[in-house]
């Protein structure tokens, strides 16, 4: 008799346990569905925002300030690059950008901005190193070294990469005491963060991202860049008075 009673109790226990498990599974499914729903809503809101919002067509990038890293001449068109020293595509673009900047040096202002991607472990440090070098006027020199040796330091641990970066700094003849002090300074960290946040605001989605007079452009070769820049110069000259455009159009 007692055996039967026990099994009954056991069965009711088992049943209640199964009920809990079932409800729990339902809870998990419900939560997962909620997450999916939120992702869907956010995603669709962003899709409609990018197609209908007129302000997204032309990105209002923060105005170029005196401590921005620029090459070329102001007054013409402006090309802004959001870049990451650890991104292979950015390294590939570097010589190409330099070529374009040299070709259009009288009509183009090139601006380099940091957009260190979170998944690149040494990218932010690299950006800060370049800012510490910029304090001593060697921003472009060290950025060339960064890109040229990217494969060497990209896989290093942050501590080792820091040593590698210091070797670049001394190679460039920087005052190392000052460099080390600047590297850990708040000003340098904030400078990188400022660039990064302006990129977030401009909705940079990857690196490198280029903005030509505030409009995102995609180009794969120096020739494609040249076409885009020439077109931008043309429209720019057309706006105030159309008489100055004859030179650029006849050439091709």
């Amino acid at each position: 008799m007692s055996i039967i009673k026990e099994t009954k109790q056991e069965r009711s226990l088992r049943k209640s346990r199964e009920r809990v498990v079932k409800k729990f599974i339902l809870l998990i499914i419900g939560l997962a569905a909620l997450v999916a729903l939120i992702f869907g809503v956010v995603w669709s809101a962003q899709q409609s925002g990018t197609t209908s919002g007129p302000q997204t067509v032309k990105v209002d990038l923060a105005s170029i300030t005196a401590d921005d890293h620029v090459l070329g001449t102001p007054g013409g068109v402006t090309l802004i690059e959001y870049s990451d020293f650890q991104c292979p595509a950015c390294a590939a673009y570097e010589p190409l950008v330099k070529e374009v900047v040299a070709d259009f040096r009288d009509d183009l202002l090139f601006v380099y901005r940091h957009y260190p991607l979170p998944q690149h472990q040494n990218a932010r440090l690299a950006a800060q190193v370049s800012e510490a070098a910029a304090v001593q006027g060697k921003f472009w020199e060290i950025s060339t070294l960064m890109f040229a040796n990217q494969t060497a330091w990209a896989s290093q641990s942050p501590t080792t990469a820091r040593v590698t970066f210091a070797s670049y700094a001394s190679e460039l003849g920087l005052d190392m005491n000052r460099f080390e002090a600047d590297l850990v300074s708040e000003a340098v960290a904030e400078r990188v963060e400022r660039d990064y946040l302006s990129g977030v605001q401009a909705r940079v989605s990857g690196t490198p991202t280029f903005y030509l007079d505030g409009v995102e452009v995609k180009a794969r070769t120096a020739g494609e860049f040249a076409d885009l820049i020439e077109a931008a110069i043309k429209t720019k000259n057309n706006e105030p008075n159309s008489s100055t455009t004859t030179q650029t159009t006849v050439n091709e």
Binding site: L34, V35, F39, Y196, Q201, R203
Partner: protein, 154 residues
Amino acid sequence: MNQIVPLPPKLQLTSNRLTLTIAALGLLGFLDASYLTAKHFLGGSVRCLLVEGCDVVTGSQYSTIGGVIPVALLGVLYYSLILTFIFLHRETGRDLWWWLLAGWSLLGLGFSGWLLYLQAAILGAYCFYCLVSAGISILIFLLVFSRFITRKKF
């Protein structure tokens, strides 16, 4: 495997409103954290209500752990477990789940404190949805621990 021993119904009933409140807060926090996670992965600025500098917070280096795991995702995990513990406590009536809930909410309180400190002292900027989450986790902690004070026998 331990046997599931339900508590006397009286004891369950008294805590009913408390557990439901905590569950509701947990769900709210879950939605909040899910939104921030979605924004992290899909990009774009979070809506900034009442405060300024939301993008400063969500775009900062502190918004991820080691640049890989977004803090918002940890929030989703945190609230999922809060909901799991409260669910298991309600279903089984076992005190173990309440103890786990208490420990977990204490951890959440500490982490929220750290995130509040980062916003106030380091970044000097606040993010509305982060503040909501901090508020919720503080409330959850207070409610969970209120049961230790109001109930002598636990």
